[in-house]
């Protein structure tokens, strides 16, 4: 019953979030602010994670390729496919769920307990829409760009470690990342990134928006937001993959 209560309240909140804004220019300004805050602010973290992720995939693949009949370019090909299809969109989104999700939940939760949301309501502003909609739109716009950067950095990381450790030659790695490229895979990856962005922002915002009590509850809401967002990302990932790839 508790689950249905939360699902119902989540969709009621979404209905308020997607109501007509009071003033478009103010929302537009907020979207730009959130794109900078949620997106650009995560760039460094994503770059670091991606470069190590690409490097580890390359080493692990090289470690498992022992058959001399397997072409030498397989290393680059496997790294590219792993990063584009799964690691960049899903793993980076899971990490963003932790960073951005907890940020959103605690920010909105703190606004709730310090009566800032009440202040917005009393001013006649739809607080759900004003606080949450710019975050959702900003993440849906900016996250695919972050994932594209993650893909490039991850593949570059694989290249550096592959060539440096002697696992493959520069020529073979580049040949691998150029082989059997399917553009639809990038579309699939960016599509699910956008869906994950929606989940990260809306679920985290939901937990923050309905926080009650004090600082302890803000922390709890933040933890819940990360847990539920991560689970939802994994489930959605499975569904989208089944529908779009197989």
């Amino acid at each position: 019953m508790n689950l249905f209560f939360h699902i119902g309240r989540y969709f009621i909140l979404l209905r308020r979030v997607f109501a007509k804004p009071e003033k478009f220019s103010m929302y537009f300004r907020q979207i730009l602010f959130e794109m900078n805050s949620l997106g650009i602010g995560s760039l460094g973290l994503i770059a670091i994670i991606s470069v190590f992720m690409g490097a580890v995939i390359t080493i692990q693949t090289a470690y498992n390729i022992t058959n001399p009949l397997i072409p030498a370019y397989t290393l680059g090909f496997t790294t590219r496919e792993s990063i584009i299809l799964e690691f960049s969109p899903t793993i980076v989104s899971l990490i963003l769920a932790g960073k951005v999700g907890s940020n959103i939940s605690s920010e909105i939760g703190t606004m709730r307990i310090s009566e800032q949301i009440d202040a917005l309501e009393i001013m006649g502003i739809n607080s759900a829409s004003f606080l949450i909609l710019p975050k959702i739109l900003a993440a849906i716009i900016i996250n695919p760009f972050l994932i594209v950067i993650s893909m490039f950095v991850g593949i570059a990381g694989g290249y550096v470690i592959g060539v440096y450790t002697g696992a493959c030659t520069s020529y073979n790695y580049i040949l691998g990342i150029q082989s059997f490229f399917i553009p639809f895979n990038v579309f699939y990856s960016l599509f699910k990134t956008a869906i994950f962005a929606f989940i990260i922002t809306s679920v985290a915002a939901y937990h923050g928006y309905y926080t009650s009590g004090g600082a302890l509850e803000v922390g709890r809401a933040s933890t819940k937001a990360i847990v539920y967002t991560s689970i939802l990302i994994l489930i959605t990932n499975l569904i989208i993959t089944k529908l779009m790839l197989y």
């Binding site: 009071e22 103010m26 703190t110 009566e115 800032q116 202040a119 309501e121 009393i122 001013m123 006649g124």
Partner: protein, 254 residues
């Protein structure tokens, strides 16, 4: 004029506000006083629409706020300014952005006009030159004054103050009280203050409602309080022996 009529509010089976009616006058500091748990904050939240009453109505110049929806309610809300107990300033914004926020949302003033209005409001609460400070950089009293500047920035007809003196020293409390009182008179605002600070009551109480166990138990002004025979009111106002002494002194003078 703001009027509440036969307001009832229950949470589950627990009645918090019981059939309360009162008229709040424009240009006057209207006070709602009472012990903790007497229903003061609930009454305030009912008036500003943060709670829905179980029954009864809230009339803003004859317009029934409780029966309104959507745009009509928003129209009334634009006429409301509110000073929260802890200020409720937006942490991520500077004072200037905080005070300008209602103007950005609801007016078509030019940026220059908005900044002029912001500067006027900040100077009115004696915070001139603090435009670029963030709420975290302010003291408790400064936060209250900044929140008051934001509350009056859009020329409200109604100003609600939820315990404006809580957490402040007596001197700062008097400054805040005097400020609210003078702004009320200057702009002919209907001001409603929720408080249990007796200094405020005796200083600026022009129209007072005393709530006791969720009921309108007594009404009058600051002079009437000194001469009231209402036992519950006297127990509340003159809770300490010291206040009783002050009370006797004040009574002998009037």
């Amino acid at each position: 004029m703001l009027e509440i009529k036969n307001i009832v509010k229950t949470f589950g089976d627990r009645p918090v506000v019981q059939d309360v009616s009162f008229v709040f006058h424009p240009g006057k500091t209207n006070l709602v006083i009472g012990e903790s748990g007497s229903g003061k904050t609930t009454i305030l939240k009912l008036m500003v629409g943060l709670h829905l009453p179980t029954s009864g109505s809230v009339l803003f110049d004859g317009r029934d706020f409780t029966a309104m929806k959507g745009k009509d309610q928003q129209t009334v809300r634009k006429e409301i300014g509110m000073l929260f107990q802890a200020g409720a300033l937006f942490d991520s914004m500077t004072l200037e952005q905080n005070v300008k926020f209602p103007l950005d949302m609801y007016t078509n003033l030019s940026e220059k006009e908005k900044i002029e209005r912001v500067n006027f409001c900040l100077s009115r609460v004696k915070l001139e030159g603090s435009n670029k400070l963030y709420p975290a950089e302010l003291s408790g009293g400064m936060k209250k004054r900044a929140a008051l500047a934001r509350a009056i920035s859009n020329n409200p007809k109604y100003l609600f103050c939820d315990e404006p003196n809580s957490g402040l020293d007596p001197k700062t409390s008097i400054i805040i009280d005097t400020l609210i009182h003078s702004i009320t008179q200057e702009f002919n605002i209907t001001t409603i203050i929720i408080t249990h600070d007796m200094n405020s009551v005796l200083e600026i109480g022009e129209n007072i409602m005393y709530l006791y166990k969720g009921k309108n138990w007594w009404a009058g002004n600051k002079k009437d309080i000194l001469h009231s025979n209402n036992e519950e009111l006297n127990n509340f106002v003159f809770a300490s022996d010291f206040m009783k002494q002050v009370f006797k002194g004040a009574q002998s003078k009037t």
